[in-house]
């Protein structure tokens, strides 16, 4: 298949994805949605990795994606466990109602 996607486009896409993730984290109150936005940010990073891997002709990018994935998986598991626990204790998933560490 001829033609190749220019690097800057995928980077732009990755940046947009990342920013959407950031906004998601900042804006939403629901812990799960925040969690999803973090996944989005991670995937944005993966995209950037693959894009660079592609343009620099090296596999390292993709391999890093693997590591990112495993870390993301682990993180999701632990995160969700915490959220479940949190829900059990506080009956709420909304972040701003959980300010245990209030100074």
């Amino acid at each position: 298949m001829s033609g190749v996607i220019p690097l800057s486009w995928s980077l732009a896409l990755s940046a947009t994805l990342f920013v959407i993730g950031v906004v998601g984290v900042l804006v939403r109150r629901n812990a799960l949605v925040i969690f999803m936005s973090i996944e989005l940010m991670l995937n944005a990073a993966n995209l950037a990795f693959v894009a660079f891997g592609r343009s620099l002709q090296s596999l390292d990018g993709q391999i890093f994606v693997f590591f990112v994935m495993t870390v993301a998986a682990a993180e999701v598991a632990v995160g969700l466990a915490i959220i479940v626990n949190l829900f059990r204790l506080r009956e709420t998933v909304f972040v701003d109602e959980v300010n245990l560490l209030k100074g």
């Binding site: 900042l26 300010n99 209030k102 100074g103």
Partner: protein, 639 residues
């Protein structure tokens, strides 16, 4: 010399003090008394032995120096513990040990029934040690040790009956005033060392004329500072306030310290440094004027005192004034001569007063005495001799020494000083006879119970009185005037005094003027006596009428010109207030305040920072994002 000649003299009383401390109560009253008097007696004998040894030496090198050890050496400053015996200090040690011994014997009787008998004698011996060190010191520093030691003992002895707050207060006052005097002495010493390079008398006096410009400001300041020390110690005008209050102590103390020995230390010091004083005629003038002023001033106050010991105290101050007057006019030997004779009859007066008080069971007010001559024959007899001596009647010691002072004052052209001296003599005669009459003559105004157990003192108290009476009578003959080369005493002291720079010899007085001066001083004394007799013996009512007419003057004198109150208001109170302000305001508020302020400031700052920790995860994420944005911005700009 087998035994060390000089250093043993002060060592004996010190040893006695040590023994008192170590043996403590096991000695018992008799033991303590024996030990104390024995030590002083032995010291007197040793002094005699040393003086004879000194007299044996040819007139030229009549000085004995004995170095014990090096006391202090730092850099080029070095001071030894060493003793100097020369005719001047010979006289002094004889007077100190002699009169001291008599007073020790007397006080055995006087303090017989006092609870802390041992402590009294311990202090007395300590005093003897300090006085002897002062007198025998070979350098200023050792003298200063004696100087302050004597001050300490006077503090302890004045405050001996410490239960009485007034005694303790008087002790403190004495010590502080002495300390002010020592302040001057100390600074004088420093200036001398700074310029002279040594504190040793002989070396300093040798080098003084070359180092100090005669009449220069430095030597004047130094000598004036020394004189300030002397006034502190010998209770002259500015710093005499402590002596009258010192009467709170037991009478033998007053006799020993405030009549015979300690107060004379000032005169001795001025005499010892005659070389320096001669280099600074200005300070000599000051000494003379202060001496004269004190003599007159104290005498006037003495007039109106009703407490027997207070009268004697003021008379001591005025007599000391005379001695300083003598030194001021350059007649150092006359001063020392008067010092010797004065210590005899003043000690006698005090001891006599002591036995009177003892007899009247501690009654000191003249207004409640009278007609004791018959009932206390011995005391009366000796007191009479002493009173006559002090007024300066011819055969007795007082006449010779006072007359010589007046004549040398006249001779050296200080007519004002001479006139004041004569006036002083009149007043002295007047108040001494006032005391004598009120105490021994006239109607008996004793209180009832005083009447009961009125009794003559014990022989152990009377004996010293008699000895002193003899000395007062005979003491003067040593200084018989009109002898060719000056009387014996002056010849004895000449090697000491003419060592200094050539001093304009007093104008040789023709015999005529001398006899005239003698006549004048005798008549002055007689006038004083007659007026006293007339006022207090024949017509007591005229005394009261006079008193009423000059009421204001009299109250002035009675209250001692309100000097004490003045000083208290001018010095003590403001000092207290100032330091109070200094502490409460300055220390606590300003200095401590700033320290605490720093603490609170920090706390305030941290409170501001705390606002950022809201506890919401969201805010932290926001800051995070802002951080990233900032970083990106940075990369953008510097990319």
């Amino acid at each position: 010399m087998t035994l060390p000649l000089i250093s043993l003299i002060p060592a004996l009383p010190l040893a006695a003090v040590a023994l008192h401390l170590l043996l403590g109560d096991r000695l018992g009253k008799r033991g303590t008394a024996l030990l104390a008097c024995g030590a002083v007696g032995a010291a007197f004998l040793l002094a005699l032995r040393a003086v004879f040894a000194l007299a044996a030496r040819p007139e030229a090198d009549r000085t004995l120096v004995e170095i014990v050890t090096t006391w202090m050496r730092a850099g080029d400053f070095s001071v030894d513990i060493s003793f100097l015996l020369d005719p001047l200090s010979a006289v002094m040690i004889l007077v100190v040990t002699g009169v001291g011994f008599l007073i020790h014997v007397y006080s055995i009787g006087y303090m017989a029934h006092d609870a802390s008998f041992r402590r009294f004698f311990l202090y007395l011996n300590l005093f003897m040690f300090a006085m002897l060190t002062l007198v025998l010191a070979d350098n200023f520093l050792l003298m200063f040790v004696g100087w302050e030691g004597v001050g300490l003992c006077s503090y302890l002895l004045i405050g001996f009956w410490y239960e009485r707050p007034s005694a303790a207060q008087a002790g403190k006052k004495a010590f502080v005033v002495n300390r002010i005097g020592d302040f001057g002495f100390l600074l004088g010493m420093l200036t001398l060392f700074a310029f002279g390079g040594t504190l040793n008398f002989t070396r300093l006096f040798a080098v003084a004329p070359h180092v100090f410009a005669a009449g220069g400001t430095v030597i004047t300041i130094a000598t004036l500072l020394l004189f300030l020390g002397a006034t502190g110690k010998s209770a002259q005008i500015p710093l005499y306030v402590w002596l009258p209050d010192a009467m709170e102590g037991p009478t033998p103390v007053s006799a020993l310290i405030h009549a015979a020995t300690m107060v004379t230390a000032g005169v001795y010091m001025v005499a010892r440094c005659h070389v320096l004083f001669r280099l600074a005629p200005v300070s000599l003038e000051v000494v003379a004027v202060v001496g004269a002023a004190t003599a007159l001033f104290a005498a006037t106050i003495g007039l109106a005192q009703n407490d027997i010991k207070r009268v004697l105290a003021y008379s001591t101050v005025s007599q000391l004034g005379y001695m300083f007057m003598a030194c001021g006019v350059g007649a150092f030997s006359a001063g020392i001569f008067h010092l010797m004779t004065h210590s005899f009859f003043k000690a006698l007066l005090f001891l006599g007063a002591g036995s009177v008080i003892h007899a009247l069971s501690n009654e000191q007010d003249l207004r409640r005495m009278g007609a004791l001559s018959s009932r206390l024959p011995w005391t009366h007899g000796t007191m009479l001799v002493a009173t006559l001596a002090i007024t300066g009647l011819p055969p007795l010691a007082g006449f010779f020494s006072k007359d010589e002072i007046l004549s040398s004052a006249f001779a050296s052209g200080h007519f004002g000083v001479w006139l004041v001296g004569v006036a002083g003599a009149v007043i002295t005669a007047f108040y001494m006879f006032r005391l004598y009459i009120l105490c021994f003559r006239g109607s008996s105004r004793l209180t009832h119970e005083a009447e009961q157990h009125l009794h003559e003192s014990r022989p152990s108290m009377i004996a010293p009185l008699v000895v002193l009476a003899v000395l007062s009578a005979v003491g003067g003959w040593v200084g018989m005037p009109f002898q060719a080369g000056g009387h014996a005493f002056e010849r004895w002291l000449r090697p000491v005094f003419e060592g200094g720079p050539a001093f304009a010899p007093a104008r040789e007085l023709s015999h005529g003027t001398e006899w005239a001066l003698v006549a004048v001083s005798v008549t002055a004394g007689v006038i004083g006596i007659l007026t006293a007799l007339r006022l207090y013996l024949q017509s007591p009512q005229t005394a009261t009428s006079l008193a009423s007419r000059y009421a204001s003057l009299r109250t002035l004198l009675v209250n001692k010109y309100w000097i004490d109150e003045l000083l208290d208001a001018a010095v003590v109170r403001p000092f207290g207030a100032f330091s109070g302000w200094l502490w409460r305001f300055w220390d606590v508020v300003i200095v401590d305040g700033t320290v605490n302020a720093v603490g609170y400031a920090l706390e305030g700052a941290s409170a501001v920072l705390r606002l950022f920790q809201t506890g919401f995860v969201g805010t932290y994420a926001l800051f995070l994002a802002l951080g990233v944005a900032a970083m990106l911005l940075h990369f953008l700009r510097h990319g």
